[in-house]
Symmetry: C4
Subunit: 203 residues, 4 copies
């Protein structure tokens, strides 16, 4: 764990930043980053910790399936399996899962997928601001983490690093913790935008 | 009081956190935690203190009815009686009362009770995200604390730790100060969600 | 000025607090408190200072008409006259003027006065949460400070410490800086509430 | 660069302030200020830096066209060219570019220009709160910086220091970094106001 202390500190700082943005109310949401030793293993948020007071010791090491390595004080978030599945599927180095209100409202409004197109902020996701745009996939929620992981693996759009989980929140990933956090900020902006755009343009 | 200083410090920190979230404007709202000496007695917010600058000395000790133990500098919030009634009724260890806008709007919109169902964030209240969901009780406001306490005791839903008081705010409780604060964050998220969901889905 | 340094420090702290709440964008808004020497004289915000970085030296001493005492580095806000008029008219010890969005929207929506009634948060203004409620006066804006002061003097409702200025903002007063700031927080809550209540209850 | 260190520190502080206001999500937006040596040259935000953690070393020096002076560690934002064009066209000393949601929504709602009139907050832009008001120009977005600069040069309204870029954000300028930041706060307030005013006044 000492080798990973820098990452654990950044995991905690990113968590508190995302809490301050309003997306990790109570103990909700979780963040992960691959370990230095093995890029398939994760440092992931501990389960049941208030996000506003997350500290470096609230990081748990898991294997490539998202199950805790033995002998640790805290348990990982149950959703660690989903983080591991995303890392495996897309080769991401960090994953953010938040209960952003924008993501839940958009998933209900557009259950077949949310179209994001023609807006500059798309570049914040490594996407193009021009052309036909992107469909952000929406999957149904599940309390079974194998199920939820499979749904997300099947739904993933390789062109845009977001998946929405209906009635739940979203997953966003990137090449580093900072990249995943930056993209989460862009994702929320874009989802707020499509929702507000519709509200503003009502007759 | 010195025995309880750690709790008073946490009471003040929780108060300032809830203020920062926008739910304790001016001197509104109050927080309580049972004392270490007697789990029916409370440390509760002093009356008339600006919430943004609440300090540990702004905690007042009350008896099991919410009346101040003699010889203290500050007076407890008048609503201490309601906190004591909730602690007595459900065996909670901490109670939060806030004037969250979401709670007041939801109580007016659904005066017979607010249905919360099928959303992941319910797990933040110790509830299930699946199944039929829950009805959050709504009681009428009163300036008589005996009255208000009775209404809340009668209305309590043992399956969900929230009561809304119409034209006023909400009470949320838990097994510790941190738990009650976490649940308050989840409660506000869920109430915002039902209100916004309706707004977004208007034709 | 040194005698007043404690008040100037509190004036700056209150200003930054109200900025953080979003009501003093750019250099907008101003705050005043009566001086210790003469309760008709004011310490008032200097003109043209960015509110987020207001310091104790950005307080200017004025006479009972709101005109600057000679020999000071900064000029007082032009609206100091209005502050002085309110202090004279109601005997307040501190006045807050903010460009809260809620106050501008409510003044346009209800140009004949905003009815606030039957909501607990009214107690934060020293008002009753029961009964018929209160009409918050709305006056037209003016660039002539004598004019604006006169309008406000004539419109004042002695039962509620708020006046809205259409297309501009609101004035709120109290018995101390902290009291006026607390009341400003309650006033904004109440104005947001009447606006949102109407939005939520649309068919 | 050492001569400019004070400006670089203020550039970073202003950036973090605008991030805290929600207008520079992820790595979006950029800020510039003319250099002390040459008022046509700029210190401008580096490309690809997370705005919440911007530091003084994330400032890049450019020439009068917005192209980086050689030998610097970071690359300037691609939009540095647009900043340089605005400085050249209007003689501003500082330019702010943000992805404020209000600016994007207003540009779509009023593609022929946004009318701002009769509101006190206009004085925060150096404009009059009385009279006929102002039309804030809206230009189409472009990924070609020469194109975007030209559109902005042609569209500029000399009477109000804002240009909106549709589906993108806005540029605001002033006589100093602090002035440009203050004006950005006023611009967002005014754009929010016209959008909310319409929402509130719907039948």
């Amino acid at each position: 764990m000492s080798l990973e202390h820098g990452r654990a500190a950044r995991l905690a700082a990113t968590t508190r930043q995302l809490y301050d943005l309003g997306w990790m109310r109570g103990t909700s949401g979780n963040v992960s980053v691959v370990t230095q030793e093995d890029p398939r293993h994760l440092l992931v948020s501990a389960s049941g910790i208030a996000k506003h007071s997350t500290q470096p010791e609230h990081a748990v090491t898991t294997d490539a399936q998202g199950f805790a390595v033995e002998g640790q004080k805290h348990k990982p978030s149950a959703e660690a399996q989903v983080h591991a599945a995303i890392v495996d599927e897309v080769g991401a180095h960090a994953v953010v899962h938040v209960h952003a209100m924008s993501s839940v409202l958009a998933a209900t409004r557009w259950p077949e997928g949310v179209v994001l197109a023609g807006v500059e902020q798309l570049k914040g996701l490594g996407c193009s601001a021009e052309g036909e745009g992107y469909i952000v996939p929406v999957v149904a929620n599940s309390q079974d983490m194998d199920d939820l992981s499979d749904r997300i693996r099947r739904a993933l759009n390789p062109d845009i690093p977001i998946v929405l989980v209906a009635d739940h929140g979203m997953y966003v990933w990137g090449s580093s913790l900072e990249d995943a956090a930056n993209r989460t900020e862009s994702a929320d902006w874009l989802l707020q935008h499509v929702l507000l755009q519709e509200l503003v343009s009502r007759p």
